[in-house]
């Protein structure tokens, strides 16, 4: 059946990686300090799971993502919509936002840590800074991309500006908004890890940085795998939500 085929195909590369990894460690190409064996990574994984450390770290990082992401969604969708619907609003905001967007996140992080400390707030600010832009830009694009033919229909039926937004612009923009939401979620996850790598006292990014200081690459790799898996899961969940929200986009094509 088709699903099975899809799964098997996607597992080809991970399988190859594991095979090469085993060969490399069996041959002793590099000391354990550089390339840990799969067994030690699994061992560390089990330990962290059993002690509850993994859940703790993951939970903290995820909580930060949730807070930051939702703030970014709110800001991004609202700003993207206002700028899309009103030319004046667009002129007011677009120059400044574009300028901020050019600056890479890594340059912002030390400033943000200085201004907002090394606790929760700075991580959330970093997430918002990263996730806001794709959400805002895609919302804007979705609103602007509303086919003029539909807007004319709204005029024909004398819809108020608000109703035209609610019944035509918004539904038309939803698929594009979800594109932005997905991008924003991925970036949120990356942002929180990056922020934690630099200055933090807890979280999965912190766990990796900590392990690095103590020369524990097995923990580093475990952390990276966990991050990857959680990232994929979050993306899949959002995809599911987006499909439910757009029942009119069929799979007939």
């Amino acid at each position: 059946m088709k699903n099975l085929r899809v799964i098997l195909l996607s597992l080809i590369i991970p399988a190859a990686v594991i095979i090469f990894w085993s060969i490399a460690t069996a041959r002793g190409i590099a000391p354990e300090a550089i390339l840990p064996s799969i067994r030690s990574v699994l061992k560390v994984f089990k330990e962290n799971l059993a002690s509850g450390q993994l859940e703790l770290d993951l939970g903290i990082s995820l909580m930060r993502v949730v807070k930051g992401y939702f703030a970014a969604v709110l800001l991004g969708v609202i700003l993207g919509t206002t700028m899309g619907m009103s030319k004046n609003m667009n002129y007011i905001f677009s120059l400044t936002l574009n300028a901020i967007r050019q600056i890479p996140m890594m340059a912002w992080i030390p400033l943000i840590i200085l201004w907002f400390g090394i606790d929760e707030l700075s991580k959330i600010v970093v997430i918002i800074l990263g996730a806001f832009f794709p959400i805002m830009v895609n919302t804007f694009s979705g609103i602007r991309g509303t086919p003029p033919g539909y807007i004319e229909i709204a005029r024909l039926y004398k819809l108020s500006r608000w109703n035209t937004f609610r019944k035509v612009y918004l539904p038309s923009a939803i698929p594009q908004i979800f594109v932005g939401l997905k991008l924003g979620l991925g970036i949120s996850w990356m942002a929180v890890v990056a922020a934690e790598l630099i200055a933090s006292t807890e979280g999965i990014g912190f766990r990796i940085s900590d392990a690095r200081s103590l020369m524990k690459p097995d923990v580093v790799i475990m952390g990276m795998i966990v991050i990857g898996v959680v990232g994929i899961l979050m993306d899949k969940i959002l995809t599911f939500v987006s499909r439910k929200a757009t029942p009119w986009i069929g799979s007939k094509r």
Binding site: P31, A33, M106, L111, T201, S213, L214, M215
Partner: protein, 364 residues
Amino acid sequence: MRKNNFKVLAFLVLALLIAGCGYNSTAETSVKANGSISPGAKSTAGQDTASGKASEPSEKTVTLALAQESNELTGIWGLADKKKYLEEELNKVGYRLKVLGFAAAGPAVNEAFVSGKIDLAYYGNLPPVVLKAKGIDVSIVSIGDSRFNLSVIVPAASDIRTPKDLEGKKVIVGRGTILDEYWGNLVKAYGIDAGKVKLINDVANANSTLISGNADALLSVDLTAQLINKQYPVKVIESTAKNYPEFASQTVLAAAGKFAKEQPQVVVAVLKAYIRAYDYALEHKDEALQAFATKSIPVDVIEKVYSSEFNFANLDGGIEEADKARLNKLNEFLLEYKYIEKSADIDNLVDTSFFEKAKKELGK
């Protein structure tokens, strides 16, 4: 008002540092090293001009790493550099010295060892013991300061008076550095509830983190306290110079196993320079103290830290039984707190042969 101006200056500097140097900043005497650590890169090839070409085909380079941001040698090494002993001794074996600073300290130096980017390192005792326990071939060939004093630094206005007061506070302790052991020892000695303390692993920007108020205390060395105090009032609430001298650490010269095997004469040469500088310091204490100062550490700071009764004895560079015992204690600590899985063979780690040879060649 001044605090605000300083904050602005501090983060501009920070931004520049981060943007320019990255997490692992390595400063060179003449040119920036290409920051990436490439596995197995040979470090004996010369690279000292802006164009990156080898200067003189006959001269090779030995790389020495320091666990600090600047690449300026200090202490007896600084004296050896200023009196040109290093240059002389290395010239005799056809080598020149390249010094690299690692702002992220011990852990970063260890990574450089593992990837073959450096030949020698002068840093704390904890990182090389960790390396040995992980099966990496390194040797401790000399102990520069066998009583390296550590302290707990807090803002002058802080209400923290003793280490016990650190409960409920944020403390900067460099992970994987000698401060890690100091913290563990303090916790035991003062009965601190470690769970109530938030540890911050911020070595590269530790000073600004403390100054900006993002941390309440910093574990470091007395010298750091004096440095920070020039811009921001701090006080030392605990120091191995006054309490628990057995908690003092050691600074060591470590050599990559391969390099030590292949170029033992270079290791001996470096140690000869050290011994000569040490002998000079004993005879000319005042001049020595002057020479200890560098761009980053001015003379008045040196004088404040190293009082006139400064005993140079712990700087002689040799490795005694007491020093080995100290290393064994460190090894137990690392095992107990699961920094390492396997014990480090201290007898195997320590190699006094180079130091003995250096002494002999100097006719001592």
